[in-house]
């Protein structure tokens, strides 16, 4: 049986963005181990990643810890 702790700490699981980026968009490098750009405007963050030579960077919106998602926009 897989425990909750096992699930949470599966080393293959994508890294959570550091709390300092809460409320911002971040761009992860190709290995998704490093944040290469961040900011409030998703287009500018994508442009920064492209300028850094990483057009396929994964763009992620980092929710605040007090943002409990229940389906509202």
């Amino acid at each position: 049986m897989t425990t909750r702790t096992d699930r949470l700490h599966d080393p293959r699981r994508p890294l959570a963005a550091p709390a300092e980026y809460a409320g911002q968009w971040v761009a992860w490098n190709q290995d998704r181990t490093e944040i290469i750009a961040h900011g409030s405007d998703v287009a500018r963050v994508r442009a920064a990643a492209v300028a850094a030579g990483q057009p396929d960077a994964l763009l992620e919106k980092v929710n605040r810890p007090d943002h409990i998602f229940v389906g509202h926009l």
């Binding site: 049986m1 897989t2 699930r7 949470l8 599966d10 293959r12 699981r13 994508p14 959570a16 709390a19 409320g23 968009w25 409030s40 405007d41 998703v42 287009a43 994508r46 396929d56 960077a57 994964l58 763009l59 992620e60 919106k61 929710n63 605040r64 810890p65 007090d66 943002h67 409990i68 998602f69 229940v70 389906g71 509202h72 926009l73």
Partner: protein, 151 residues
């Protein structure tokens, strides 16, 4: 195609204590007329449609149209006015890739802090057999026969 859920720290609504949770958030490529982007998006079986921030449509050159029907309704009854546009979406996991043309919806978030991407039934889940494995924190997606076009 298998995608591990992503871990997040949230505050428990009841106690305010920090808690680690998992969400089925997966990487999806969005191709517009002038550019493409690669985004982390929530797979949401409770969403009728696939909804992306309008800022992404503007950035990728997606031509948008207004709808003539009623607004969408979110949890709690909030009315949401949506725009419509054609994109290509793509998934990739190890050696497997799928890409398809579809019409999705866009929402102009007043506050960019609230922007999020929702992969709902129309445009996304309708084209896959999906298994949400809560024990493993793993989403398995298998394309079905209705997937419109794979490049």
């Amino acid at each position: 195609m298998n995608f591990l859920y992503k871990a997040f720290v949230t505050l428990e609504p009841e106690t305010g204590e920090p808690n680690m949770i998992l969400r089925p958030i997966i990487p999806v490529r969005v191709f517009g007329q002038t550019a493409f982007g690669h985004y982390a998006a929530l797979v949401d079986t409770g969403a009728d449609n696939t909804i992306l921030p309008k800022r992404i449509a503007d950035d990728l050159g997606v031509e948008l149209q207004s709808g003539h029907g009623p607004d969408a309704t979110a949890f709690g009854g909030q009315a949401i006015s949506l725009l419509f546009g054609d994109v290509e979406l793509g998934l990739e996991e190890q050696q497997e890739r799928v890409r398809w043309k579809t019409r999705v919806q866009f929402y102009d978030f007043v506050n960019p802090e609230n922007e999020t991407l929702i992969l709902g039934h129309a445009g996304f889940l309708d084209y896959f057999s999906a298994m949400f494995d809560g024990e493993q924190g793993l989403l398995s997606l298998t394309p079905n026969s209705t997937l419109p076009e794979t490049a």
